[in-house]
Symmetry: none
Subunit: 401 residues, 2 copies
């Protein structure tokens, strides 16, 4: 992996354009002998593979199953072990909340405790989202500030909500209050160093106030907080790579991750066709496009093999559309594997395809896990993808004389 | 490679079981066109390969020939460059001496010096082991303590012996006395920092005393000491990986290496069949089994190609026996290569096979250096094997949200 300083030293601006097409959770395991990629009819991807260089990428490290945050940061060229984004920040990104540098975000649950203060249900029976919204509106009308810290409460799905504490001298060096286990009492928020003291005080006051207001919302009667975290201080893709990047994604979390590294978030519709239309419409204004396809992952999580296949086949139809735009470098890959038979993210490496005029001959003849494993790029850590994309668009100067 | 902190953060205990079968020095070079693995009839391993994921592992790093210590630590998931076990400690492990944390171990040679104090033979003509034992018994009766430090002398093979210094305030930050070259004088042991001063003093006093007692043991008349080292402070496999590990090995050094990382050493017989019986007998009590086959390495060191082949064929017969136990993850590999034509350890990577229900399709069709080089795991550092084994038994949580 190249250091950030080396990227800054070597990267140059030019007119060449990169498209990074991420099919979320695309990697899979065979079911009845074939993976979704092997079952899908993908004539366009297969034709592209024959002109591309291929390999398999590890999102974080061999054997590690990544969350969406590290899996994406890695593809964007950022060390996923260095920039570990807190759960609170990811939740804020996921509801499209734009965090500033005085903000501390926390993931929260509406929970149920009994008369002895013991947690009986960490999710308060997974209350309907509408009830969650009602409670959050009520709490927002009651709690707007604690001492000099502004408090922002936003509802999520079911029992989930997000709290933003905005003010001076806040820190994320504090502990969770959610013990992540039922049958225990919620914990107090504790400072892990002197700087965390003010935040711990505000968080504990917040919990007291919320619980006092929750009398009439049974089964909800207590908040549990975790992943209390600051928006990370991360250099932009323009700073590091001299890119003018844009993101085309339909889900808030991926837009949030893209915004985090300084991408412009392009307005697009909810379907795959709109995403590719958006790419075309904005072709002249940017030199790096991240296009995110969510549904491959969603169907993997559902264990729905056929639907995952059908999303792959739909994406395949747009490959000629992208090629017509004449990208100088076109990468098709996943952020991580989501095998249908596991119904969850996994550690298995991702098929990776890179098309450019500077490619070598490659033995892969179709876009699949097995074919890409034969590719000349070999197995490598996904964080190196950025260096490859920059190299294939001549955006990296020679190192040394 | 994953950091120890990340392992601690992500690893979880579950019921799934791992078998790590290490055929010592298994990797080889072709002789007459075939390696021992290619010459051996291994129908069971070949059948297993067709259901497994394969690759080649570097014990330490490309081009590096490892000793048994680093080669094994690496397979156990420990950075072999961080935990460099001293020669003295390895020799102590090799004679089954259980070191404590007040012990400093040193590898020693019985040597010959001339009237001017010049070393004429670093091995005193490789005296017979019986003579070595006689000298060590005599020395042990004469030297039991120097100042407040207990001295323990143990014989090894031919000219080799081990000395343990046991006491307070000892350090291994001292130099060797063996110049590892004939025609020179033995060196004084020197402290490399203030903490080493006491140890250097004791070591030099020890050498004086020993040499004064060696008058009647010609050609032995002087001890040479090297690898003065402390038992390493290494976290256990239970601390790092939440495993309850057991080791099945016939040679003391491998038992010692396993004990070093907190494995329980199971009593077993001297032949391969006993080792697998021991595996079966202890199946319920542990979730990680390290099974060590020594003879592949021994015959490699002897340059005995046919015998190496026959050991591989014998091990092959027990593969169905292991599979009948229904391991959730079964790895077959080597710790390093010991090519018959080199009669020594080498740097060549090891064939590696991982069988689990979460495997992908893999092109390898038999268990050999060449076939494993086609495998979807690619070439990787052996230290990552542990992450793979933990991943394939769902013993690692997701990293990041």
């Amino acid at each position: 992996m190249i250091s950030e300083n080396l990227y800054k030293e070597l990267s140059v601006k030019n007119e060449k354009k990169i498209v990074l097409l991420v099919m979320d959770g695309i990697g899979d395991l065979p079911v009845g002998g074939k993976t979704p990629l092997e079952s899908a009819k993908t004539p366009n991807l297969d034709k592209l593979v024959c002109k591309s260089n291929t390999g398999l990428t590890y999102p974080v490290s061999i054997g590690i199953t990544p969350g969406s945050g590290p899996a994406h940061l890695s593809l964007f060229g950022y060390d996923p072990l260095r920039y570990n984004i807190g759960r609170g920040v990811l939740e804020a990104l996921g509801i499209d909340f734009k965090m500033g540098n005085k903000d501390i975000a926390t993931r929260a649950n509406f929970a149920t405790i009994d008369e002895n203060g013991i947690i009986t249900d960490r999710r308060a029976g997974r209350i309907p989202t509408e009830k969650n919204q009602e409670i959050c509106e009520f709490l927002s009308s009651k709690i707007t500030q604690i001492e000099d810290v502004e408090v922002i409460i936003r509802s999520g799905k079911e029992h989930r909500f997000v709290v933003i504490f905005r003010g001076n001298d806040l820190s994320d060096y504090v502990t969770d209050t959610d013990p992540q286990q039922e049958g225990l009492k919620p914990k107090k928020c504790k400072a892990l160093d002197n700087k965390g003291k003010k935040t711990a005080l505000i968080v504990n006051r917040f919990i007291e106030e919320v619980s006092s207001y929750l009398k009439d919302f049974s089964p909800v009667n207590y908040p549990l907080l975790r992943g209390i975290s600051r928006y990370p201080d991360i250099p932009s893709m323009n700073d590091l790579f001299r890119l003018t990047p844009a993101a085309i994604a339909t889900y808030p979390m991926y837009k949030g991750l893209a915004r985090l590294v300084g991408m412009k978030i392009l307005k697009t519709g909810n379907d795959i066709s709109s995403e590719f239309e958006t790419l075309k419409e904005n072709w002249n204004a940017f030199d790096f496009f991240y296009v995110h396809i969510k549904k491959t992952d969603s169907y993997g999580e559902d264990g729905n093999f056929e639907k995952k296949v059908s999303v792959i086949e739909e994406v395949d139809k747009y490959i000629p559309f992208v090629l017509d735009l004449k990208p100088d470098c076109f990468v098709v890959t996943g952020d991580h594997s989501t095998p249908c038979k596991m119904k969850s993210h996994s550690w298995h490496p991702n098929p990776f395809l890179l098309y450019s005029t500077f490619g070598r001959k490659d033995p892969a003849i179709s876009f699949s896990e097995l074919e890409c494993s034969k590719g000349i790029l070999g197995n490598f850590e996904a964080v190196n993808s950025m260096a490859l994309m920059l190299a294939h668009t001549l955006k990296l100067k020679k190192y040394g004389a």
